[in-house]
C-alpha cells in the first residue's frame, strides 16, 4: 500500500552571522550620514508621534542603532551607501532578534531603519525604493526559525508501519541536511504531522496524494501566506469570515 506523510523540519541559527558587530570599524561617511539623518529626517518625521521613550531614543539608542546597522552592512560587504540593501536591513534585524530584541520593538526599529535605508539610497543618487516589492511586516516573521513541511511517498503494509517509516525517514533527512549545513545553523526533525493513505494503485492525472481538513481560521492563515504570490490574473479563493 502507498501512503504519503507530512514531515515538519526546523532550521535555526545557533550563532549570529556577524560575531563582533561593535568591533567593525565604521567609515566616517556612514557616521556623518547617521548624524545627518537624525537631524534632517528623524526629528521632523517622528517628533509628532514619538516613541514612549523618545528622549532616550533620540540621544543615545537611536544613533547607536543606526550605526550598528551600518556596521552590519559594512561587515556584510557594503563599502558605500548604495551597497546597503534591504537584505542587510533584515539581516541586522535578525541580529537584533538573536540578541533578544522583542518583535514589538523590532517592528518599530524596522520602520526607522527602512527610512534610513531610503535616505542612504537618496544620498547615493539612487531613485528607486529599496523596499520596492518587499513586505516588511511579513519579513519580520522570517527572522525567527524557519520551518519546512515536506510531503513524502512511502510504501507500507498499514498506517502504523507508514508512521514508523515516516519517523525514521524524517530523522534521516534532518541528519542529511545537517551534514551539509552551514556550521552556524541546525536542522531538526520536528515530527510527522500526518500520514495519508493513497487509494489509487497508479499515479495519473488527478490522483489524490494528500488531503487534510482545515478550519476557516487555518485556511485564512494559509491563504494569507500564499495569495500574494499568486499568478497574475489567477482568481482569489473566498474563505468565509468567522
Amino acid at each position: 500500500m502507498w501512503f504519503t506523510a507530512s514531515l515538519l523540519f526546523r532550521n535555526r541559527r545557533i550563532e549570529p552571522e556577524v560575531q563582533d558587530l561593535k568591533g567593525v570599524t565604521l567609515p566616517d561617511a556612514f557616521l556623518s550620514a547617521v548624524e545627518e539623518f537624525l537631524e534632517e529626517f528623524v526629528l521632523e518625521e517622528y517628533l509628532h508621534s514619538p516613541h514612549p521613550f523618545w528622549e532616550v531614543w533620540k540621544i543615545r539608542l537611536l544613533p547607536e542603532l543606526l550605526q550598528d546597522f551600518c556596521r552590519y552592512a559594512v561587515a556584510r560587504g557594503a563599502k558605500a551607501f548604495e551597497d546597503c540593501r534591504y537584505e542587510h536591513l533584515l539581516g541586522f534585524l535578525e541580529h537584533r532578534f538573536w540578541h533578544g530584541a522583542s518583535k514589538r520593538r523590532l517592528k518599530w526599529e524596522a520602520k526607522m531603519l527602512a527610512d534610513f535605508l531610503r535616505f542612504l539610497w537618496r544620498k547615493a543618487g539612487r531613485v528607486e525604493d529599496p523596499l520596492n516589492g518587499e513586505d516588511l511586516d511579513e519579513d519580520l516573521e522570517w527572522l525567527d526559525d524557519w520551518f519546512e513541511e515536506s510531503i513524502v511517498l512511502l510504501q507500507a503494509n498499514d498506517e502504523e508501519e507508514a508512521w514508523q517509516k515516516a519517523e525514521t525517514l524524517g530523522k534521516q533527512l534532518a541528519a542529511e541536511y545537517q551534514r551539509e549545513a552551514e556550521r552556524s545553523t541546525r536542522w531538526e526533525f520536528v515530527g510527522v504531522l500526518k500520514v495519508y493513505e493513497v487509494l489509487e494503485e497508479t499515479l495519473q492525472d488527478g490522483t489524490e496524494l494528500f488531503a487534510r481538513f482545515l478550519t476557516a481560521k487555518e485556511a485564512r492563515k494559509l491563504l494569507g501566506a500564499y495569495q500574494k504570490g499568486r499568478r497574475k490574473g489567477e482568481r482569489e479563493p473566498k474563505v468565509g469570515e468567522g
Binding site: 532550521n11 535555526r12 541559527r13 540593501r85 534591504y86 537584505e87 536591513l89 533584515l90 539581516g91 535578525e94 520596492n132 516589492g133 518587499e134 513586505d135 511579513e138 519579513d139 522570517w142 527572522l143 526559525d145 524557519w146 519546512e148 542529511e176 541536511y177 551539509e180 549545513a181 552551514e182 552556524s184 545553523t185 536542522w187 501566506a225 500564499y226 500574494k228 504570490g229 499568486r230 499568478r231 497574475k232
Partner: protein, 68 residues
C-alpha cells in the same frame, strides 16, 4: 520542468530581480549556489544534492516572489 528553465540568469540575478529579501534570511541559505543558473541547480537537485534541492524549492515557491 521548473519555471526558470533555460533562463540564462544566475540565481543571484534571479533573486535580485524577482525575489524578496526574506529568501536570503533562510538560516541555512545555500549561498555557494548563487552563481549557478537554474538549470545547473535543477541538474544537481535531480542528482540528489540536498542543498541544490533547497535552493530549487525556494526559487520555485511563489511565496518569495516580489509583491506586484
Amino acid at each position: 520542468m521548473g519555471r526558470y528553465q533555460r533562463d540564462p540568469r544566475t540565481v543571484r540575478q534571479i533573486i535580485a530581480e524577482e525575489k524578496r529579501g526574506s529568501i536570503t534570511r533562510k538560516k541555512d541559505f545555500p549561498s555557494e549556489l548563487l552563481d549557478k543558473t537554474f538549470d545547473e541547480i535543477d541538474r544537481l537537485a535531480r542528482q540528489g544534492n540536498r542543498r541544490a534541492r533547497q535552493m530549487r524549492k525556494m526559487l520555485t515557491d511563489r511565496r518569495f516572489d516580489k509583491r506586484k
